[in-house]
Amino acid sequence: MNTREFQRKIRFIKEVEQDVLPSSAWILKTRETLLMQVGNGMAQIPPPWWVRTREFWLHFVPSRLIASIRGPVIAVFSVISIVAGGSIASVSAAEQALPGDFLYGVKLATEQTRLVFAKGKTEKIKLKTDFVGRRVEEIRQISASDVSEKPKRIREAAQILKRDLDTVKTQLTEVSSDEQKDVLGVGKVTETAKLIDQKSDELTASLKEVKETIPFEVQDSVAEAESAALATGVQAVQVLIDTHVHPEAQDIVTTDELTKSIQGKVDGMREQISNAVQKILNASSSSTMMGSLPDSTTGTPALLTDPFVTTPSSSSSLAQVKDANSSLDQAWKLLEESKFEEAGDKLGEASKAVSSVEKTAGVVAMNAAASSTAAAMNLPTPTVNSTASGTSDVLDSSNPTPTSPTLKSKASSTDAVEAPGG
């Protein structure tokens, strides 16, 4: 059962469950029986005053209520005290802060405060999406400026961005299953999904530009953020597809809008594959292979299919590229046949495949760069290992000297914790 089928079954179960009710006669009969037992078991003498006081406190001043308002109260108090302490400059300075700056924590805390006070889940997601845009701007600013420890700051910003994008994606999934009960709810969710779809395209384009300007060693973390933006956009499109097939919401998302969104995602992913392949070829050309641009119709570079020049690392990359392109071709075909739900499923598969291709391209490029550096300094060749799935073939087969030192890097964070209040 794939993820989309799983979600469909869940939705169906919930629909049927909502329709189930016990019989009125049974409800009344059971109520009578229960109240008879309650009446028989209940003490008649009222409790003493101290018990009444204690019960009042326990019932109407619950500890969780205090715990739940403590966070926002402290956050608001912190912001007010910063402002009241003559630090309007501090707050606006915080607004300009970048990852690694002293006031960056205040900036994030201010954003959290705004999220806490946002009304409704869809409003929170929209606000979170705006904040995600800020993260991209921060990366751009760090890259363009002369700050110290640039690579470290960019990596931190990219990790926060990826985490926030994953949060938006998860929240969109939750809200789309929670709020699709009536046309109003469907409308709100759709508006949010359209915004995220559009924003994810903008983010992906911005991140692509930014990647060209940042140091090589942190391009992989920005590439991961780019994949997360793409996955979030695909999720938004899947929500739009669900709306389109909803019986009461055919006019909220038209066929044309949906077709355009899906086409945009397919084109975007093809471009990502093409860039990733070029990266692999460039990396390989520094060793034995000459690069060539991918075939525009299949996206698979002709040179990678030449059996005389394929290496174990490139054949693994080739398999991933083929998977990704195959999913995209199928999505395109299903779109042409107006089979939107299946096209959405294929887009999801393609997104995962493209993410794998990007990761592999990053690892191959880093290996090549490390090899060149080591060769220039006459050192043993280090290899970058990745814990991400699908890349171990590439690494093991490209490292002929088992005693070489290895640099371990985590290609993805699997233990990201959702930001509080988001």
Binding site: V16, E17, D19, L34, Q37, V51, D178
Partner: protein, 186 residues
């Protein structure tokens, strides 16, 4: 607000000794508890028994003067345990899951016609079994949170009460469980 109403009714039971307050708690939650257990159990009669037993046990809990922060979550916890107990009994043999015309009844409007409703219930039960089988590969914590959140639609706060964890912990488990599900190979 709903939480405050429950606390007020519990206060009336304990301090004012008002049995009708328990009746009002029953009225508030009988349908949702029935829905919660209905698809998990093979027949209407068993669902009715489990629902009434749930309320009876909640009354026993109230009588013990234990602190009840979230009455709704308490009911779900009791109902969930009762359903699990039924399946754990050694003498439980559900030879076949049959559907009878009286297996469901609705009041008011329904999006399904009578016949379609019957088929829908059977299909939903089968789907639920498939879904539970699909997630059975996950850790028990993950399974619990996923079913309570995705199928039963409980909030993280309620799930936390049902499973006796913190809401933050439940959120983290939920997101990890979703990621783990996405990683399943087909």
């Amino acid at each position: 607000m709903s939480h405050l109403v429950d606390q007020y009714l519990l206060f009336r039971i304990r301090i004012k000794r008002d049995p009708e307050a328990f009746g009002r708690l029953y009225d508030r939650y009988v349908k949702s508890i029935y829905r919660f257990v209905f698809l998990k159990l093979p027949s209407r009669e068993i669902a009715e028994d489990v629902t009434s037993e749930t309320f009876l046990r909640s009354w026993q809990y109230i009588q013990q003067n234990q602190r009840i922060e979230n009455f709704r979550a308490l009911l779900y916890r009791i109902a969930r345990n009762l359903v699990a107990d039924i399946y754990r009994r050694p003498d439980t043999h559900f030879v076949s899951v049959t559907f009878s015309g009286s297996d469901t009844s609705t009041v008011g409007e329904s999006q399904f016609s009578d016949e379609a409703r019957g088929r829908a219930v059977m299909e939903a039960r089968a789907d639920l079994a498939l879904v539970l089988q699909h997630i059975s590969r996950l850790k028990e914590d993950f399974q619990d949170v996923l079913t309570l959140r995705l199928i039963d639609g409980l909030s993280f706060a309620d799930i936390a009460q049902v499973l006796e964890k913190t809401p933050g912990n439940v959120r983290v488990i939920f997101h990890r469980a979703l990621k783990a599900l996405e990683g399943f190979k087909e």
